[in-house]
């Protein structure tokens, strides 16, 4: 076994580092104005595309570089080291819809959508959760009825990040009531500009407004927008979620290690009323050291996961372990920052602020164990499918 990068990979890293230093956006990401946010994220994605860095591990046929997850990892590592913001509005397209389309969609769908995602032309959002179908996703009831060559969709989705600025949505709808609730679900590509769609932003505890509910009133979606087979959308969605829980979080995992190091720096600088730096406090010091050990282990798990995934196109349930571990550490680290900051943690910040908006990051961190399947659901998946415990 080894941790060595090949000469080619090392060269790739140098190229990434040089390019990022020259092209990284200097401005802070606008987080209150939706249109500005869209423009910022897509412009940055376009810059990456032009530099040849979009879709590093995507097939060349669809505009990707056709490299492996190792190069993708190297990109994320350098990206995090440069202190750059996560891809947010482009996240679903790049890590969710894109990989799902690559494995499941028709050639026509792939050829149309994949290059557009990479070129920063479209924002995608996810239409999975509903008010009555959160953790129990399969009980979703937004229905779609076949009418000629279209499905007619009516119902409601919720927790849809960036719906107000999205072009397309990966939309799960109920097309029939089969023997079990897992049957009769269909995965559709929904054009967000279709008549009958209404988007209402929901303010989050952090104060941002990228979170939305989406209402569908007889929205027509062409049958040609079905991904995979009709009625078998559950299976397609589960593969989507495996991507989210597997490799899609690599960037966040790498960023978390960077965050911990920034926190160590903060604890060295920040002095309390007694004039001592926060790091001199034994309890804080121990929690910082523990955080260092945990993000190291998170990285080791990420590397091992990549080695496993190099031999398979479809991530397995082990991705849930990574997501669960990540969520716990992310929340602990965010809280630790608040304990180090003391009263300064009361000043409102956004997680987008540079160098760091610790209070915004703390409030946002609660999403880590809720979004993409709660930690409780991850534990059920691991218990049932990895450990083989009875249901």
């Amino acid at each position: 076994m080894d941790l060595d990068f090949t000469a080619e990979q090392a060269e790739f890293r140098d190229e990434v580092r040089t390019w990022l230093a020259e092209h990284a956006p200097a401005e802070t990401r606008p987080h209150l104005d939706a249109a500005a946010m869209r423009e910022y994220d897509l412009a940055w994605q376009r810059t990456q595309w032009e530099g040849g860095w979009a879709g590093i591990a995507w097939p060349e046929r669809y505009g990707g570089r056709g490299l492996t997850l190792v190069q993708q990892l190297i990109w994320y590592e350098e990206y995090a080291r440069a202190g750059l913001p996560s891809v947010d509005a482009c996240f679903v397209g790049l890590n969710h819809a894109g990989p799902t389309l690559i494995t499941t969609a028709t050639d026509e769908q792939k050829e149309f959508h994949l290059p557009r995602i990479l070129r920063g032309e479209d924002v995608w959002c996810q239409g999975f959760s509903e008010p009555g179908a959160g953790s129990d996703l399969a009980s979703l009831s937004t229905r779609a009825e076949l009418d000629g060559d279209s499905y007619v969709v009516s119902g409601q989705k919720i927790w849809t990040s960036f719906a107000m600025i999205a072009d397309y949505q990966e939309l799960l709808v109920r097309t029939s009531h089969g023997e079990s609730k897992h049957h009769g679900i269909t995965w559709l590509i929904c054009d967000m500009r279709s008549p009958g769609i209404e988007v209402r932003p929901i303010e989050t505890i952090e104060g941002g407004a990228e979170f939305c509910e989406v209402f569908y009133d007889n929205v027509r979606v062409p049958v040609s927008n079905v991904v995979g087979k009709p009625e078998e959308g559950w299976r397609v969605a589960m593969s989507t979620l495996s991507f989210e829980r597997g490799t899609a979080y690599t960037a966040s995992q790498v960023r978390l290690a960077e965050l911990v190091e920034n926190l160590v720096g903060l604890a060295r600088e920040r002095t309390g009323a007694d004039g001592r730096p926060a790091i001199a406090d034994e309890e804080l010091a121990r929690r910082l050291a523990t955080a260092r050990s945990e993000v190291a282990a998170l990285r080791a798990m990420t590397y091992a996961g990549i080695c496993r995934n190099l031999n398979t196109s479809q991530p397995g349930p082990e991705g849930s372990m990574l997501k669960l571990y990540y969520a716990e550490i992310a929340k602990r680290v965010a809280r630790l920052a608040m304990d180090i900051l003391g009263a300064d943690g009361l000043r409102a910040t956004s997680r987008w602020d540079r160098p760091f908006g610790w209070s915004g990051n703390y409030l946002y961190s609660f999403s880590a164990s809720i979004g993409g399947g709660t930690s409780e659901i991850q534990r059920n998946i691991i218990g049932d499918r990895v450990l083989g415990l009875p249901r």
Binding site: D2, F5, S293, A296, M301, L324, R379, L387, L389
Partner: protein, 342 residues
């Protein structure tokens, strides 16, 4: 980058696992609780003959000359089986003997003829390449001729004869023979300075691997019990309180294992952040071993509280291992003082 065990490595582990299952059942620890050693000399030699003590030792030292990650994979397996005896100290003792040009001694250790046990400082000033003085805790030193001393400046061996007042101390773990002894300027053999070879870090990785084995073994015991134990007409594992506790054990064990492997490879390949990676491994592995062993007792309920059950043996060993080569709180202090990981 390759972090998946090869088929050769898996074969090595499978052979060791078979030997342990047949010759060294965990229940034997209870049977030997009143014996002077936790493992019969005959079985120690049989294990050595299988090559358990010489994985990373060169051939002239009676070893197999394999990389460190092979040894770490093996030690994880020995941890799973809760194999007693001075395993880590013997492997490190053979390494010191090899590095200082004493292949005969190295061979004697890897063949199981001579045992080396850990003597860990309790008090007194740190020793050097010439002599050590002070009070020591001895771990499984009953049959040992040599004692491994690890000081900040380096590591070496002393003969057990050169120590005085060797006394047995009752240990919480029936699988560990604890002792105490004094050294009054005991002469040091086979000294290797910490700059030349980080013996302490190597020891910490092997201890972490044993702890990972424990964390995994008790995870498996807990899962097995949760599947089979029926209450209220269904297996207790259907309850999320139990199921999720098992999952947390699995995640802790997985994180500890991947980090231990990462640390082993970092040390082996001379990465600049090797010490960081090793201390991180020790920290997550120690918490996984103790935490998982505690959860396992809880999941087993009343049975887990009995001496007759194996659950307590894992917990007790996890605590013993956690104290070897330095206290966890000191490791955390060092970890925080180091430069960031690479």
């Amino acid at each position: 980058m390759d972090l998946l065990p090869s088929s050769d490595q898996l074969e090595l582990v499978a052979a060791a696992s078979e030997f342990c299952a047949e010759q060294l059942p965990v229940s034997a620890i209870r049977d030997r609780r009143d014996e002077p050693t936790a493992i019969a000399r005959k079985l120690w030699s049989a294990g050595a003959e299988l090559g358990l003590l010489g994985v990373s030792a060169p051939e002239q030292a009676g070893g197999s000359g394999l990389p460190f990650d092979d040894e770490v994979l093996l030690f994880r397996e020995l941890g799973r089986h809760l194999v007693p005896g001075p395993l880590v100290a013997s492997v490190l003792g053979a390494r010191l003997a090899t590095l200082t040009g004493h292949p005969d001694l190295a061979r004697a250790i890897t063949s199981g003829d001579t045992q080396t046990a850990l003597a860990q400082r309790r008090s007194g000033e740190a020793g050097d390449r010439f002599a050590v003085t002070g009070e020591f805790d001895l771990f499984d030193a009953t049959d040992a001729e040599y004692l491994l001393i690890v000081e900040p400046a380096g590591a070496g061996l002393v003969t057990k004869e050169s120590l005085t007042g060797v006394t047995r101390v009752e240990c919480i773990d029936p699988g560990t023979r604890l002792g105490s002894a004094s050294a009054g300027s005991a002469p040091v053999l086979c000294w290797v300075s910490a700059d030349e070879e980080p013996i302490r870090l190597r020891g910490l990785v092997l201890v972490s691997a044993l702890q990972v084995g424990i964390a995994e073994a008790v995870r498996d015991l807990a899962v097995e019990h949760a599947r089979n134990r029926v209450q209220f007409g269904r297996p207790i594992g259907v309850n999320q309180a139990v199921k999720h506790a098992c999952v947390d054990m699995a995640v802790a064990a997985e994180a500890a294992w991947q980090q231990t492997l990462f640390a082993a490879i970092s040390l082996h390949s001379g990465r600049a952040d090797a010490e960081f990676q090793v201390l991180a491994a020790k920290s997550v592995a120690g918490r996984a071993a103790i935490g998982n062993s505690e959860s396992n007792i809880q999941i087993h309920g009343g049975m887990g509280f009995t001496y007759e059950h194996d659950a307590h043996l894992y917990l007790k060993r996890a605590h013993v291992l956690d104290q070897l080569f330095g206290a966890p709180r000191d490791h955390l202090g060092t970890l925080l003082a180091l430069e960031a990981a690479q």
